[in-house]
């Protein structure tokens, strides 16, 4: 049986699936392909933080829309709007906090500065050594491990076909569009959207395009279940800590500390030299964390390009090919920018501008 689709989407993470859903609702027939299972890359292994306090200023309008999307997804993705504090412990960190959070507030995030006493009355188990803090009532988290099953369900409801464990090994062209070669019968599509996250570089290379995609190897840890210790999402002025306690009592600790490995080699590895300062900072913020045992630490690959802004638009030099990825704060923004990308491919003008993947990454690095 030959298969013909309006568009093939390579990568079934948040962005690929969100784009597929928008395309389907706009009348196109997409197919989603993933080399593993849906939502098991960065979409499924990140710490699930939804915090406007850690978003880039220029991406704030997208992050605000992203929060609306997560709120709509609600319980199915474990969404909780808990509010969040960002803490500073030293003068230098306090300056950094003031500088960064002021810019983010100006960009539209409802961030306010709060006193040490306000923090401690809301979160009495935090350290007394908070020098300055900001608060955002919009902040919270979702459960990233639910990403795959959530989007699988949504794709089914929308009758969008998807293939899991279906790695594309090469891409050729015919008169109709693209032919995607996999282990099984080739898949034909008039258009193609690359949404392969940290694997974008090798995927784009199949079309002869060199995308300057790098991957960060972010570490996340989870503790055993603890009695309720804090209710909000806790961050640090440097951005090197995110921490939340889930409904089941486990505490999830992130902050972008780097592990080791490359997407090509499979899952990355946790390294002790990086994990220990991550946990130390968490324990400094929440002394009672010292009583908790870490159950597991893992890493996920976060893709980026040199200017750390998204790739969202036409793949340079390849007609009918599109690329979406490398979004800083991609978990938060993914569902929204996926929808924008769908609009763009449908020929509608997206309600917010996309990010030209053909730009000069060195020049635009602001």
């Amino acid at each position: 049986m030959s298969e013909n689709h309006d568009i093939a989407i390579i990568g079934g993470g948040i962005m690929g699936c969100a784009a597929a859903l928008r395309l389907a609702s706009g009348g196109m027939a997409p197919i989603v392909l993933d080399r593993g299972d849906l939502g098991q890359g960065a979409s499924g292994v990140n710490a699930g933080t939804l915090s406007l306090q850690i978003k880039r200023v220029r991406l704030m309008p997208y992050a605000l829309k992203g929060h609306e999307e997560w709120a709509r997804m609600g319980d199915a993705v474990g969404f909780r709007r808990t509010g969040g504090y960002t803490l500073a412990f030293t003068e230098r960190e306090a300056e950094l906090l003031t500088e960064r959070q002021t810019l983010k507030a100006e960009a539209g995030a409802p961030i306010e500065f709060v006193t040490n006493n306000q923090v401690l009355s809301a979160e009495p188990n935090l350290t007394r050594r908070v020098l300055a803090a900001s608060y955002c009532h919009e902040d919270g988290y979702a459960n990233s491990s639910l990403t795959g099953q959530y989007y699988r369900g949504r794709l089914r409801e929308a009758s969008v076909p998807y293939r899991e464990r279906c790695a594309v090994t090469s891409i050729t062209r015919d008169t109709q569009g693209f032919v995607l070669h996999t282990g099984g019968p080739p898949i034909k599509a008039r258009r193609i959207l690359l949404a392969a996250g940290a694997w974008l570089k090798p995927v784009a290379a199949m079309l002869g395009v060199d995308l300057p995609v790098n991957a960060r190897i972010n570490t996340v840890s989870v503790t055993e279940r603890m009695p309720p210790l804090f209710a909000t999402v806790i961050g640090h002025a440097t951005g090197l800590l995110t921490m939340k306690q889930k409904g089941n009592g486990t505490i999830l600790i992130g902050g972008g500390w780097q592990g080791r490995g490359t997407p090509q080699e499979g899952r990355g590895e946790v390294i002790a030299d990086s994990l220990i300062p991550n946990l130390s900072l968490a324990q400094f913020a929440l002394p009672k964390l010292g009583q908790a045992r870490v159950l597991r630490s893992w890493t996920g690959f976060e893709a980026n390009v040199p200017d750390f802004y998204p790739l969202a638009g036409e793949l340079p030099g390849v007609p009918d090919a599109f690329v979406l990825g490398c979004v800083r704060g991609g978990y938060t923004i993914g569902p929204y920018i996926g929808r924008l990308m769908g609009d763009f491919i449908l020929g509608h003008s997206p309600e917010m501008p996309l990010f030209n993947p053909g730009r000069d990454f060195e020049k635009d690095a602001t």
Binding site: E224, P227, N248, G249, A292
Partner: protein
């Protein structure tokens, strides 16, 4: 079969009782005996509270898996079923 708890039954010194404490209460047990078993012998069944609803918890699987018998020793959380009694051992509960 992988033994999570080493078999050292022959090392337990039944003839000699040694003192240890549980939340400051003095107890006696056989040296090198399994700590969870010694606590049971001493009548201590309630070792911790469930983190969610606070319900009492005690030794259950006795092989290092279920985590219900976890106690603090030297400031660390450890499964009491994987520790042995030694003279002066100070055990703190997670109650």
């Amino acid at each position: 079969m992988i033994r999570l708890v080493p078999d050292h039954s022959a090392r337990i010194q039944r003839s000699e009782k040694v003192p240890f404490t549980f939340d400051g209460v003095a107890l006696m047990g056989c040296a090198d005996e399994n700590l969870a078993a010694a606590l049971m012998q001493a009548g201590v069944l309630h070792l911790r509270n469930a983190p969610g609803d606070g319900a009492p918890r005690g030794a259950f699987c006795m092989m290092g898996l279920c985590q219900e018998c976890v106690v603090f020793v030297d400031g660390q959380s450890v499964e009491s079923c994987r520790l042995t009694v030694s003279p002066g051992l100070a055990v703190k509960s997670r109650r």
